[in-house]
């Protein structure tokens, strides 16, 4: 079921990436990053309700959820946030300067203005 969700998210992400609107493009990127996080998370195996909390008494560690992919995904989420915010700001500036939301307009270089 979750695998299908990954597929749907990727489908949506790719579709949005291929739109000409830059705003949709950014949404597409966020979908893609969510989908990838989920993929990494799922691939480590799912363990419900047993977070990786340990103390000195814990002995049976193998039954807990694997902390490693969680750490990875956590990093990825944060980086994804940074990227998304930065692209948004870039997009804002771009619109302010060029006055268009159309990616195909990006084809022109400065010299052709």
């Amino acid at each position: 079921m979750l695998s299908i969700l990954v597929g749907v998210l990727y489908t949506a992400g790719v579709y949005m990436l291929l739109r000409r609107s830059i705003l949709k493009f950014i949404i597409g990127i966020i979908f893609m990053s969510n989908a990838t996080n989920l993929l990494v998370f799922i691939s480590a195996g799912l363990v419900a309700g047993k977070p990786a909390f340990v103390n000195g008494a814990t002995t049976n560690v193998s039954q807990l959820a694997d902390p490693m992919p969680q750490a990875l995904v956590l990093t990825a989420i944060v980086i994804g946030l940074g990227m998304a915010v930065f692209i948004l700001a870039l997009k804002y500036k771009y619109f302010e300067v060029t006055g268009t939301d159309d990616l195909d307009q990006l084809k022109q270089t400065d010299s052709q203005k």
Partner: protein, 771 residues
């Protein structure tokens, strides 16, 4: 023995210092450099006695001995002869350039390149290691490019420079390959080792390919057919450059190398067939095209090609007589051609044209210059008492006695000499004698530096022509010995007695006079001849060259245009389609997978959550409202957080909620300033994109399914689990990993965030720039 190296280094240092000369002496830099050249020249003159006793000096410095790369400077008869030419002609050329370049800007640049060139050329002729020689060789090529394109505002000059660069560079590459091929046969790049191992080289299987590669390098540099066409183009250079590079020194580098390698590679059937063949063709081509040119410098360029052909031919014949003739002719040609180029530059300066049809009777305006030109032309025509006569006699003698296909060489040589004679006479009568079309008045003092160079060269030529023996003993003989690798007795005399060769000379003069008389008397003959040439030789080599280059460039431009079309979406599309195809291929290859996890809706609340996320995603894609799109994207994000929460990833859930909130807020902030969605894509593209997306998404689903089944039994997790509390005293293993075990990674991550934040603030709060 260090002076040789120091001398070359001195040239380079001096060249650099040109730019920092004090203002007061800056305008005199031509003369200053001439002094340097003079000093070098004198130094080499003092070496003459040593070398003429058949001694040589070798300077050996280790560089990378493991690879056979060493600095080796060798001073023997051959390199001394060339070094004398480089420095001696150098003195005169710089004096000349001092006057010639006065009226141009950027003279510092010019003298810088020209002096660097002298140094490189000197290094080249003194090199005894072939890799080192190759470096100097390429250096002269590059510098030649800069010098030809000195008038870089002229398109013709740029084109010519580019053409000569490409051709000589290709030749240089071929030369390097050849050196390596042959060098591997004797396992050394030192010329001495090559000469010592000559038999080994000649019998090895790499001899023929190596020889051909080296010869290509030689032929491009020395403008041999079919590479000769870059030389007339190179006449776009300022006159001192033409006189120095393209007649006296650089184009002789190929000849030098040929002479240098002659004891190592020469004497075989291949050598005595290939080398003279190209020499003869070049000789004929040069003299044949020289006669129909009307541009003074073009005439000189073609006669230079002729002379280079003669030199190559003589070295190829490879008898002691022919080599003697080659060395002598090398000097003869340098003497008269350098002076003629300088005079041509002078004439162009004073009259504003190089077209010989527009010139005439210059002897009235410039008596001294014309007298010098007369002597130089006599030398070129091969008439007594000039040195040229001596050379021509010797060449005839060498040709008559040449083995192999001697009779052919002899006939072609005769034709070429007749043509050369006619060209000389044509220039003499059309430009200097005859009716003056205009008179030019020039003050005499200013011309001293213009005239001094050619005058000295011509005088040397005259003096040696009359009394050649000392010159022959001291300079020609040692050089010949080196090339021929055995002692040769050189005795030169102006008068050889009444023999077959003299008869030939007389015949040459008679025929040549007739030809030049016809050309001068009837202008129509020349025009008809030019027309004939253009119809008989329809292929214009320079044009062919340009077209080849252009079509090559056009080809890559058209290919680039297809790939770099500038539409961002199609770049992404191609990347995704490619990835999807790869994924599907991989899935197909491993289709025997067993999916162990059965499809299940349990637990039902997760299934419900997933369903909600899907709906939100779809809605976000299809909605026309921006706010709706962003909000439903937010729903997706929060849904993800819940999934994380359920599957034991508390920290992930918290982070996801925070970042999702931030993103949505950020979107909303910016949204008010952005336009609403407009309909940009047509239905067809939407469907196409949809299909691509679904294909990709399906592939990803399958990959995910597979990923669950792959058992990532990562022992590192166990390590973290066990040590988290004991060593790091943290209960939350994920947190401990981030801030303790992998703290540096987290630091990097924080840095990324800071950079992003700085970028955002710069982008958002900077003032609106003018658009």
């Amino acid at each position: 023995m260090l002076p040789m190296l120091n001398l070359v280094i001195l040239y380079f240092l001096f060249a650099l210092s040109i730019f920092i000369l004090p203002k007061a002496i800056k305008s005199q830099k031509g003369i200053l450099i001439a002094f340097l050249q003079m000093a070098a020249f004198v130094w080499f003159v003092f070496k003459v006695p040593l070398v003429s006793a058949n001694n040589s000096e070798l300077l050996f410095l280790k560089w990378i001995p493991e690879l056979g790369l060493n600095f080796e400077f060798l001073l023997d008869g051959l390199s001394l002869a060339f070094a004398l030419l480089v420095t001696g002609v150098g003195v005169l050329v710089f004096l000349y350039a001092h006057s010639y370049m006065k009226s141009y800007d950027n003279t510092a640049k010019f003298f810088f390149f020209l002096l660097l060139f002298s140094g490189a050329m000197l290094g080249l002729v003194l090199s005894a290691n072939l890799i080192q020689l190759f470096i100097f060789w390429e250096l002269t090529t590059v510098l030649s490019f800069f010098l030809i394109s000195f008038f870089n505002e002229k398109e013709l000059a740029r084109k010519a420079a580019f053409q000569s660069l490409v051709i000589t560079f290709l030749g240089g590459l071929s030369l390097l390959a050849g050196i390596i091929v042959i060098g591997s046969a004797v396992d050394s790049y030192s010329i001495n080792d090559w000469v010592a191992g000559a038999d080994k080289i000649k019998s090895s299987s790499s001899y023929v390919p190596g020889l051909i590669l080296i010869l290509i390098g030689v032929f491009t540099k020395s403008a041999q057919f079919p590479f000769h066409f870059w030389l007339p183009g190179a006449m776009q250079a300022p006159a001192p450059v033409s006189a120095y590079l393209h007649s006296a020194t650089m184009v002789k580098a190929g000849v030098f190398l040929l002479a240098r390698l002659s004891p190592a590679l020469g004497g075989t059937d291949e050598w005595t067939f290939i080398v003279p063949l190209f020499g003869v063709i070049t000789m004929l081509v040069g003299s044949y095209f020289a006669i129909t040119q009307t541009d003074l410098k073009a005439i000189l360029a073609y006669t230079t090609i002729n002379a280079l052909g003669v030199l190559v031919l003589l070295l190829g014949i490879d008898t002691n007589l022919s080599i003697k003739a080659a060395v002598l002719f090398l000097f003869i040609h340098a003497f008269y051609k350098a002076s003629l180029f300088m005079i041509a530059g002078f004439i162009e300066k004073k009259t504003g044209t190089r077209e010989i049809n527009e010139l005439g009777g210059l002897i009235k305006s410039f008596p001294i210059t014309s007298a010098i030109a007369l002597l130089a032309l006599l030398s070129m025509a091969g008439l007594p008492p000039m040195l040229g006569f001596l050379g021509k006699e010797l060449i005839y003698e060498a040709k008559v006695q040449s083995p192999g296909f001697g009779s052919m060489i002899f006939i072609f040589g005769f034709i070429s000499n007749v043509l050369m004679f006619a060209v000389s006479m044509k220039v003499l009568f059309k430009v200097f004698l005859g009716k003056a079309k205009k008179t030019y008045t020039v003050s005499r003092f200013k011309n001293t530096f213009f005239v001094i160079g050619p005058a000295i060269l011509v005088l040397i030529s005259l003096v040696i022509g009359i009394a050649p023996n000392l010159f022959g003993k001291w300079i020609i003989e040692p050089a010949t010995n080196v090339i021929y690798a055995s002692p040769v007795n050189v005795e030169l005399a102006l008068w050889h007695g009444f023999n077959q060769v003299l008869l030939l000379s007389i015949a040459t003069v008679v025929l040549g006079s007739m030809l030049s008389y016809i050309l001068i008397k009837y202008n129509r003959v020349e025009v008809l001849w030019q027309k004939f040439n253009t119809t008989v030789f329809p292929v214009n080599l320079p044009e062919l060259f340009t077209k080849t280059i252009e079509s090559f460039v056009a080809f890559s431009v058209s290919k680039t245009k297809i790939l770099q079309h500038g539409y961002h979406r199609y770049y992404i599309l191609s990347i995704i389609v490619f990835t999807a195809v790869l994924l599907w291929v991989q899935l197909f290859v491993t289709k025997g997978w067993q999916f162990e996890i059965p499809f299940t809706f349990k637990p039902f609340y997760i299934s419900g959550l997933v369903f909600i996320i899907m709906l939100a995603t779809l809605f976000s894609v299809i909605t026309r409202s921006r706010i709706a799109a962003i909000l439903s994207m937010g729903v997706t994000g929060y849904g993800m957080a819940l999934i994380f929460l359920y599957y034991s990833a508390v920290d992930l859930a918290i982070t996801q909620i925070l970042s999702e909130t931030l993103i949505v807020v950020m979107f909303m902030l910016i949204l008010q300033r952005l336009p609403t969605f407009t309909k940009l894509s047509s239905k067809a593209t939407k469907i196409r994109d949809l299909i691509v997306s679904i294909i990709f998404g399906t592939a990803m689903t399958l990959v995910t399914l597979k990923a669950i089944n792959v058992n990532l039994s990562s022992p590192i997790s166990e390590f973290f689990m066990q040590n988290s509390f004991q060593k790091a005293f943290g209960e939350n293993v994920v947190n401990v990993i981030l801030v303790d075990f992998r703290a540096l990674d987290t630091l990097g991550e924080a840095t990324v965030l800071v950079i992003a934040a700085v970028g955002v603030s710069v982008l958002l709060f900077s003032k609106k720039s003018k658009s």
